[in-house]
Each structure stands twice: as structure tokens, then as C-alpha cells.
């Protein structure tokens, strides 16, 4: 027999009754002056609200009555003998000690790290390669229109130069060993400077300035292979999925008080996202390295154009923090390492 003194509310008024709760192994009884609750079955007709810190323990009855008590030990005995709230016992055990809290924190960091560096990229890759290629085209179409409206003017390069690059491009596309369809466009853009980028559909856009900056066709070849690698590995779509995953993960982490943390959360999100895009850049660079090796070309050509592009925009040199392309020197170092290992 377990006896727990406490306060009882009848579910009709705010009046509090001093009572004693009794449990005989099957039934619960609430006994007090002016009040008596008919015997009721513990498992069927009431809920023992799980322990939470040192707050008062509460039993809610199905028909709206409430019993509350400071006798935490009594309620724990009740839970134990009736076999209720077992999982919550573990949770409140975790919450009750600093030791377990530290373990949880370490576990939390490990899981978040695992998700960010392995889980999310893996899932994103899986989804990205399952999507059919016409989805890619549809996605890219909107982007094409917006880019042409906002950033681009028609190219002013002479046709001869363009045709030579196009020829090189179609040869590369044919030898790319993938069923991806590629296309190439030239555009002029002040805001983007010397630049090239790829859309998921396989469209590669090159700015006039980039072509003008290059001193050798092999430099352009490097850039083209780099962009084609982005398309083949579906980097564009993967980064969209990955970034969505990161936003979800971080909002789960700090979702508790949205008003302050929403702006604090945007910084870690940015850091993780720029880390992802660096990985993609590195992968595309490695594709260039492999291509140049197989053709017996000197990787210097690709390195030179990278350096020249970087010099075109001196302001971005120092802002390693948020740059989408990793610092050029690091990229070149990595590429050289990669080639010497591959040899």
C-alpha cells in the first residue's frame, strides 16, 4: 500500500482539498474530508505527468480531476510498482545531473558534426541523382530568365573567338563519359566580372571578361572542365538540398527562442554553407587535374587563369570568411598535391 498526501481538485472548481492518495496495487483511491474519489484503475483512468526537475508531481484523472503533491518519492514508487513512465525516468535522470548533461552535450556535438559533414551531403547526393534530368531543365529555366534579365547583356566577343571555344567545348562534352547534355553561352556582365558558372541543366555561361582575361585556349579548357564537373556531379542541386538540410538542422537546434536566435542562427548557417561550396569547388578542380593529366597538359594553365581571375577582383582577396571559392592559393596547393598523389 502506497500512501501519498497531497492536494486534490475536483475538476469542477478551483477549490483545493487536502487529501491522501492510496494505491493498493491495482486501484487508486483519493480520500479526504468532504471528498472521496471512487476507486479507479491506475492505467486506464489517469495519467501521471512525468517528472520534470524539482517541480511538484501531478496526476491528472480522465474526468478532469487533479492531484498534486510534493512527495516526489511516493510518486516514483507508484510509477515503479505500476510500471509507468519508464522512458521518462531515463529522461529525468539525464536532466538531473551535470555529468549526464555533459555526455548529452558531447553526443549532441558529435551528431551535429556527423550530420553536417556526412549525413546531409550523403542524403543530398542520393536525392540529387534520383531526380530525372528534365527536373534539372525546369529548375534551370527560371534561373536563366532571371539571370538574363538582371545581370547580363549580349556578348560582344567576335564570332571567330566564340566559335573556337565552342568547338573545344563540344569536343569536351562528347568525351565527358556522361549522358548529360551540355550547352554554352557567352554573356557580358559588369557585376560578375571575369567569371563562369554552370546551371543544373548543363548550361554553362562564360562572361566576355573571362575570355578576354585568358591568354591561352588551354586556360579556357580548364575552366570548361571545371564547370562541366559541377554539372555532372549535380553540385547545384546538391547544394540547394544541403543548404535546406542545414537550415532545418540549425532551426531544430535553436528553434527554442526564435526571435533572438533567428539572426544568430544565420551566421552558423552561412559558415556551413560556404564550407559545402568549397568542397564542391575542390571536387571540380580535381576533375580539371585528372583531365589535364590524361591529356598530358600542364596544370599551370589552369592555375594561371585562376590567379588572374583573383587579381581581377582585389577586394575579395581578404574575405576568406564568406568567399564561395576557396582562397586561390589553397586551391592551387590542393590541386598540386592531388596531381602529385595521382601520379
Amino acid at each position: 500500500m502506497i500512501r501519498i498526501p497531497g492536494i486534490f481538485f475536483d475538476g469542477k472548481s478551483a477549490k483545493a482539498y487536502k487529501t491522501v492518495l492510496e494505491y493498493d496495487g491495482i486501484y487508486l483511491y483519493v480520500k479526504g474530508n468532504n471528498i472521496a474519489l471512487e476507486k479507479c484503475h491506475l492505467n486506464d483512468s489517469c495519467t501521471i505527468i512525468p517528472k520534470l526537475g524539482d517541480t511538484r508531481r501531478v496526476i491528472m484523472f480522465r474526468s478532469g480531476q487533479r492531484f498534486e503533491t510534493d512527495d516526489s518519492i511516493g510518486i516514483e514508487r507508484l510509477e515503479h510498482s505500476a510500471g509507468i513512465n519508464r522512458s521518462f525516468k531515463l529522461i529525468s535522470f539525464l536532466e538531473s545531473q551535470w555529468k549526464t548533461v555533459v555526455v548529452c552535450m558531447v553526443g549532441l556535438i558529435a551528431i551535429v558534426y556527423g550530420f553536417i559533414s556526412f549525413g546531409i551531403p550523403f542524403i543530398a547526393k542520393d536525392i540529387a541523382f534520383r531526380l530525372p534530368s528534365n527536373t534539372m531543365n525546369r529548375i534551370s529555366m527560371d534561373a536563366e530568365v532571371i539571370l538574363d534579365q538582371r545581370f547580363f547583356k549580349p556578348s560582344q566577343l567576335d564570332e571567330d573567338r566564340k566559335n573556337r571555344i565552342r568547338q573545344m567545348f563540344y569536343t569536351l562534352a562528347r568525351n565527358s563519359n556522361s549522358d548529360q547534355v551540355f550547352s554554352l553561352r557567352f554573356r557580358q556582365s559588369k557585376a560578375l566580372g571575369a567569371n563562369a558558372f554552370a546551371l543544373p541543366s548543363g548550361l554553362i555561361v562564360m562572361t566576355d571578361k573571362l575570355v578576354e582575361t585568358s591568354e591561352d585556349n588551354r586556360e579556357i579548357e580548364g575552366i570548361l572542365v571545371h564547370e562541366m564537373a559541377h554539372v555532372i556531379h549535380r553540385h547545384g542541386l546538391r547544394s540547394v538540398i544541403q543548404n535546406t538540410g542545414v537550415v532545418l538542422l540549425i532551426s531544430m537546434l535553436v528553434g527554442d527562442i526564435a526571435s533572438i536566435t533567428s539572426l544568430a542562427a544565420s551566421i552558423p548557417t552561412l559558415i556551413v554553407e560556404s564550407g559545402y561550396s568549397r568542397k564542391f569547388e575542390t571536387q571540380a578542380d580535381e576533375a580539371v587535374g585528372l583531365h589535364f593529366m590524361s591529356k598530358g597538359l600542364d596544370i599551370k594553365f589552369f592555375e594561371n587563369i585562376l590567379i588572374r581571375i583573383t587579381k581581377e577582383k582585389p577586394g575579395l582577396k581578404g574575405s576568406k570568411f564568406l568567399s564561395t571559392h576557396p582562397e586561390t592559393i589553397e586551391r592551387i596547393k590542393h590541386l598540386q598535391n592531388f596531381i602529385s598523389h595521382a601520379k
Binding site: A143, V254, G315
Partner: protein, 372 residues
């Protein structure tokens, strides 16, 4: 304050004539939450939420709310939050799916973002209504649940129809809208079967927003001056004329962060100013049967707490979030007290209605603030 009243209470048996006056009781609102204890609960909440891929978030939410409620007591009795986590989980799932769809489509098909915004606005009054219903229904004191009696139609009028008037009147309608929202909430709220009587007037809201408008103007002028000055001295003005985007970006970065910081400070200031004034006023104009709530929030203290909280959270990479929450709750509740002229035992429960949690989850995700 409390001492005088309790002395009076002790003497109440002496003369019958004085009895009515002596029935007045004043109770402070006690908050006994502790930052360390809540920190442990919070860490376990976050850990289990991530571990279960978000499923535990519903339980985490109930435990968090319960922790703050159960540590808030009046006259020896604590509040309680009685929501069933399963209901909240359903809500979280629905809202989560919507959120992922929104995120992906926003990045893949930008023009679809507009469709979601329209959908969201159409859905918003429904969420608001559900959210308030769920929240009040699951909040209880002395085993009496709170209750909200507003209707879905009123919610649509208030959050979809009326806001159209704000741009039409160049914003002059805005304080009135704020008044309508508060009135809707306070007038339709009940403790058990006892409804709250609310006598708030629109004039007060006009005064409050007029002063915050002045504050904004003053801050903007100040800000504009500072930015112009810093741009002039750092030579940024010349940079803008040249097309070099990179260099402008680098220098602009510092100015941008400075601007961002000042903006957060001014927004926080105005938020806290409005919050303090409006909360105090709404309780002053409320009467729940024999009970009156007294709120004496001070804008300066609220602002200081909020500002230092933000700093502490950023500097501790979020680890001080629990401390900040407990600290703010402790201050707000320490400013409140309750005065009753009748017997608190006489409150009775209302009819229990089935309330789903979709709205509640949405309010958690998107942080709708219906301000209490």
C-alpha cells in the same frame, strides 16, 4: 504590499462591518525557475530532438513550457501546461512538411515563393485562431483551464480584412489594429467560465505608437548621420562611383555589420518599449471576475535585460539561451501581482473542447507573437 493585506486578513474575524474590505487579498507572482536546472533540461531537449530527427521536439516543447509554468505560482499554487505532446507532434509534422516545401521551392523555383506567401496569408488567420485556442485551453491554474472564445470568422476579419486598411490609411490605422488585436484576445479570454472584462481604449495605443514612431525617426536620423560620416571618412563614397565591386564589398562589410548591430539595438528598444507599455495597460484595463492583475514592467529594465541577453547568447554561441530565458521570465513575473476581492475557490471550469495543435506548432515554427 503583501504584508499590509495579510495583516488585514488576520484581523478580519474581529468586526463584520470591516469584512468586505478585508476580503481584498494581494498576491505576488512567484517565479522559482533556476537557470542551471533549466539548462540541463534544455540540453537534454536539444540532444533528444536531434537524436530522434525532430520527433522529440513535441515533448521538448511541453517540458519547456511546463517548466516555466510549474515554477510560476500565485498564493502557493502553480500554473500548469497540459498539452498532449502527440497533438503537438502532429502539428510539427504538418508545419515541417510545409516548411521544407517552401524552402526547396523557394530556392528552385523563385516565382513559386509568391504562391507560398499567398497561401501563408490565407492560412495565417486560421493558424492564429488555432494557436490561441490551443494555448489557452492547455494553460491551467488550480486545475481550471483558460479558455478562448473568439471565432474563426473574427480571426479572418482581424488578420486578413482589416490589415488592408493599414496601407490605405498610410499606416494611421496601425495602432487601431493593434488595439483591435489586443481587445480580441483579452475580451475573449476566460479563466474557466469567468470571462475577462477588457476596457482598453484605442487612444492609448495611438499614444504608444506615436512615441515609438518618434523614436524610430530619431534613431534613423542619428543612424543616417553616423553612416554618412563613416562612409565619408573611409572613402567609401568614391568607391561607389567606381565599378570595382570587390573593394566596395570589403569595406562595406564593416559598415554593414555596424549598421546591423545598431538596427538590432533600435528594434529591440522599440519592441521592449511597446511591450512594457501595452502589457501594463492591458492588465490595468482587465478584470477577471474578482481578480485583477497588476503589471509594473519598466521599459528600461526590459530593454537592458533583452540587450544583454542577446549579447550573452551570441558570445556563448547559444549556451546561455536557458539563462537568458529564465532571467527575462523572472523579471517580468517579479513585476506582476494579483489582487482579488473574492474567493478564488469560486472559479469553475468550462466545457472541455477538443482543440488540435496545428496552430500551436505553427506559432512555434514561425514565431507568431500574439503577446500576453
Amino acid at each position: 504590499m503583501q504584508d499590509i493585506e495579510s495583516k488585514g486578513q488576520r484581523a478580519s474575524g474581529v468586526g463584520t462591518r470591516k469584512r468586505y474590505k478585508k476580503m481584498i487579498k494581494r498576491h505576488p507572482v512567484n517565479f522559482s525557475g533556476k537557470a542551471g536546472e533549466y539548462f540541463r533540461i534544455w540540453i537534454v531537449n536539444v540532444f533528444l530532438t536531434i537524436l530522434t530527427g525532430g520527433i522529440y521536439s513535441a515533448w521538448a516543447k511541453v517540458r519547456t513550457r511546463r517548466y516555466f509554468y510549474a515554477h510560476t505560482s500565485i498564493d502557493g499554487f502553480a500554473f500548469d501546461y497540459l498539452a498532449n505532446p502527440i497533438n503537438i507532434l502532429k502539428g510539427h509534422l504538418i508545419v515541417g512538411v510545409f516548411f521544407i516545401a517552401y524552402m526547396l521551392s523557394g530556392r528552385l523555383y523563385p516565382e513559386w515563393g509568391f504562391v507560398f506567401v499567398v497561401l501563408f496569408y490565407l492560412f495565417f488567420p486560421f493558424l492564429m485562431y488555432k494557436s490561441i485556442k490551443f494555448y489557452t485551453h492547455n494553460s491551467a491554474y488550480r486545475n481550471i483551464r483558460f479558455h478562448f472564445d473568439g471565432t474563426l470568422w473574427e480571426s479572418y476579419q482581424l488578420f486578413l480584412v482589416v490589415p488592408i486598411l493599414i496601407p490605405l490609411t498610410l499606416g494611421f490605422f496601425f495602432p487601431y489594429w493593434e488595439h483591435l488585436k489586443k481587445r480580441w484576445f483579452f475580451e475573449n479570454s476566460a479563466f474557466g467560465t469567468t470571462f475577462n472584462e477588457f476596457n482598453g481604449k484605442a487612444g492609448f495605443f495611438y499614444k504608444t505608437y506615436f512615441f515609438s514612431f518618434l523614436q524610430i525617426m530619431l534613431l534613423m536620423a542619428l543612424l543616417g548621420g553616423v553612416v554618412a560620416l563613416s562612409m565619408y571618412t573611409s572613402g567609401l563614397l568614391e568607391q561607389i562611383q567606381s565599378p570595382e565591386l570587390g573593394e566596395m564589398f570589403q569595406k562595406g562589410f564593416i559598415v554593414f555589420f555596424g549598421l546591423y548591430a545598431v538596427m538590432i539595438i533600435s528594434v529591440t528598444m522599440i519592441q521592449q518599449y511597446v511591450f512594457a507599455r501595452v502589457t501594463n495597460y492591458c492588465w490595468l484595463q482587465s478584470q477577471i471576475g474578482p481578480v485583477k492583475v497588476n503589471s509594473q514592467l519598466q521599459f528600461r529594465k526590459l530593454f537592458w535585460i533583452r540587450f544583454t541577453n542577446i549579447l550573452a547568447i551570441i558570445l556563448s554561441i547559444g549556451l546561455l539561451i536557458p539563462w537568458a530565458k529564465v532571467r527575462r521570465a523572472r523579471y517580468i513575473l517579479s513585476c506582476m501581482s494579483v489582487k482579488s476581492t473574492g474567493n478564488l475557490d469560486d472559479f469553475t471550469t468550462g466545457v472541455a473542447a477538443d482543440v488540435t495543435a496545428v496552430g500551436d506548432a505553427a506559432s512555434d515554427f514561425f514565431d507568431f507573437d500574439f503577446g500576453l
